[in-house]
Amino acid sequence: MLEPGRISVRQLIVVMLLIQIGDMILVYPSLIAGAAQQDAWLASLIGIPFGLFTVWIMLQLYKQAPGLTLIEGLGKIFGKWMGAILGLWYLFYFMVMAAIIVREAGDFLTTQILPETPIRVIHLILVVVLVWGIKYGLESLSRTGELLIPIVVMFIAFQVICLLPQIEVARLEPVFASGAKNIAAGATLAVAYPFGELLPVLMLIPYALNRPHRTRDLLVTALIGFLMLTMIVTVALMVLGPFFTQHNIYASFILSQRISIGNFLERIESVMATIWIISTYFKAVIYFYCFVLGSAQLFALRSYRPIIMPSGMIIFGMAIILAPTLTYYQAIVSKYWVYWDLTCALVIPLCGLLVCYVRKRWSGQKLGENTYN
């Protein structure tokens, strides 16, 4: 075993919730409102069953190769060569995900809070913290998550409650006006981003203790995290209106700037930004961990420790190389990234399940023939 640490189911759930909130708490409203305008909340709700199905498929895939992480499991399910190719594909995915999340944090800080700091400096600090987090292993990471999750959840709830006086339901009207195609596009986004990006859970499950009802607990966690995101979307639509939500990349940041109660409780957006940086850091660190652990498992190394720092350099470089500007990757994220997420989170696991099913049937029949003869 490459990872000596063990985590409890509760820690796994906490990490999962933080991944799901992750960077989505800030960019999800504008993404989904960009697809489905004022029906974004509806599209988001329509996405729930499909999203839960996606998570369920992932967990079923894990049951086909229990005790193995995704990268090892692919080798067992698809065979050596196909498994290695798919493993490389997933490593690329994990690397680009970790880099793009670092980039998102960098772009957010340089455009909204620290406009005169070069983005590379922020990336450097973030990557140093990522490397630092991984060096202490999975156990300390998930304990940190347990410490931080109450703050994150509390402040999100606080934001929503403080905005309640400003909501106007009329901003959601006319309902269904954006058309079936746009709502379908919005629902696809809702499946791909918050649910599809839970894929790292497959890399962590083998190190979590097995308890009864674990699958059910994980599904409920995914649902709770997603309902929080949907709530933010709905509040954003009702306070800012569809147009403003759609055209602000950081809609929930603008939302927290709107909070003003009795000319006293104001300017809490930097607190919200801190919360967002915490959850984004967590998503980045888990993807980074998947990349490092996955590489060690794919190349059958004895330990993943030596490659942590070189991988940090890769992430640091990749974060800038990925996209020349913010608009460049925003266009790709809202258009093509969806398919990529769905391929990794849904299509490949479904193929894996199919392969397992066919193999089981086939070998079962052969066994039957043998007993007849």
């Binding site: 697809a35 680009v96 420790r305 720092m309 070189p310 991988s311 940090g312 990749m318 790709i332």
Partner: protein, 77 residues
């Protein structure tokens, strides 16, 4: 020039921390993967710090999924 020196120094420090033990234990695979990651990481860091313009790996993703998007009738605009 400063960039090359700075990244080079960091790469050498990282190598000095981890490589000697791996070489002593003659773990060839570890040494190869470590060197590959360190070299590509250094190259990427230099590119990132100097803001050189290189083709983005996301072009690959666009190239793969462009037909899919067209097949679905441009679901995402």
């Amino acid at each position: 020039m400063t960039t090359y020196i700075a990244v080079g120094v960091i790469a050498v420090i990282i190598a000095a921390i981890y490589l000697p033990e791996q070489i002593r234990l003659r773990r060839m695979k570890e040494i190869m993967v470590f060197s590959l990651y360190l070299l590509s990481g250094s190259a990427m860091s230099v590119i990132a710090i100097d803001l050189e313009s290189v083709p983005s790996p996301l072009e690959f993703i666009v190239w793969i999924y462009e037909p899919v998007n067209q097949m679905l009738g441009g679901l995402f605009k």
